[in-house]
Symmetry: C2
Subunit: 219 residues, 2 copies
């Protein structure tokens, strides 16, 4: 099971077909009769909510069944992304840019962590997240592997294939050496600004790479 809070998010998950196990609310806001709804007091809400400012609705949902990975499209792979906000943002980006499958190393943060769920804004219902042995996955995947590095081929000058795997690395250390060896292509976002500009956060960099992949392959 996993937890999602807030009317908008809970409604979005339900309408996307994620099965609610129980919905706790301080208000009778849901009109549909067949929801497992339970009215609770403000005091009870405060106790069960994980948010600083609890919203009126807390939903408990069943974790959806794992899906098969579709290799006929771009896939994003994360090597040890640890921050829940980053993972949530990346799931939201995948949803926007039409990436259906997100593959995570087993060391990456759990996508059903409440902070991830809140950051996805409902996109968790539409992006399939798979936890795998990333090394084996990349070795056996029938697609070219594009790793993102501080030094690599300029993404704007790279001819991108119709399908591939985009690998993003850990917040502090980037892609590990083991995974790096499996990246047939090493790509980078050139720095246009001051030489001291340190780096882009992994979610920002994912936004830029996905934008460029879609611009290049779907135009």
């Amino acid at each position: 099971m996993f937890v999602a809070e807030g009317l908008k998010l809970v409604e979005d998950l339900i309408s996307s077909g994620i099965k609610p196990h129980k919905i706790f609310s301080t208000q009778t806001i849901f009109r549909r009769g067949n929801l497992p709804l339970q009215l609770i007091s403000e005091a009870e809400l405060k106790k069960i909510s994980g948010l600083k400012t609890p919203q009126a609705v807390v939903g408990i949902f069943e974790i959806p069944e794992p899906q098969e990975i579709n290799y006929n499209q771009w896939i994003v792979a994360l090597d040890d992304v640890r921050d829940p906000g980053n993972l949530g943002t990346i799931i939201r980006l995948c949803d926007w840019f039409g990436i259906q499958n997100l593959v995570c190393s087993e060391t990456s943060v759990d996508c059903f962590n409440p902070k991830v769920i809140q950051a996805t804004m409902g996109s968790i219902a539409r992006v399939y997240v798979h936890y795998v042995d990333l090394k084996n996955f990349l070795k056996n995947a029938p697609l070219p592997v594009y790793g993102t590095f501080m030094i690599g081929k300029n993404i704007y000058e790279t001819s991108l294939p119709e399908n591939g795997i985009l690998v993003m690395g850990n917040e502090a250390n980037g892609i590990s050496e083991e995974i790096s060896n499996l990246c047939g292509q090493k790509i980078t976002i050139p720095k246009f600004g001051h030489k001291k500009a340190e780096s882009l956060n992994v979610a920002m960099a994912t936004a830029v790479f996905l934008s460029e992949i879609k611009r290049f392959t779907e135009k």
Copy 2:
């Protein structure tokens, strides 16, 4: 004055020429003799730090002198961006993509808010942030104004000029009507994914627009 915490950030600000007023540290980590350094205890650090997990160094810096806006380059303008994390991330993006001037409506969050400073990762030293009456600024600026909207011209199919102003809107409401009327061009990031994908966060969207502006104008 403003506050910055953490050895890396404090060192980065000092080496970027931001004048330290006082630096509090639990360790004698700075070797240069002319810094206004004061050793403090762990207990004192805990009292003055704004972080959940205090780092060894807290710096108090002088807010730098305002700079003239340079109109011979792209400028980013924010209409009422409220979240400190978003502003910090946008400043970091500006640094990476070589945007020197960031113009904010007076209702936007203060760029010297400690949460913004921490999120900029030192980029606050290299990006000049100006708080202005945005309506007057856009009316009088000698550059074309590109507003970002949910509906507009596809950014990937837009011919972009060498210099211009990119306007990003509020987290919940986007660009206000008043400012919208001053945007000569309305542009958007097309949605490649599921129709239910709600929107991109303002910082994510800024990443995509800046990437595309630089790719298009500097290639």
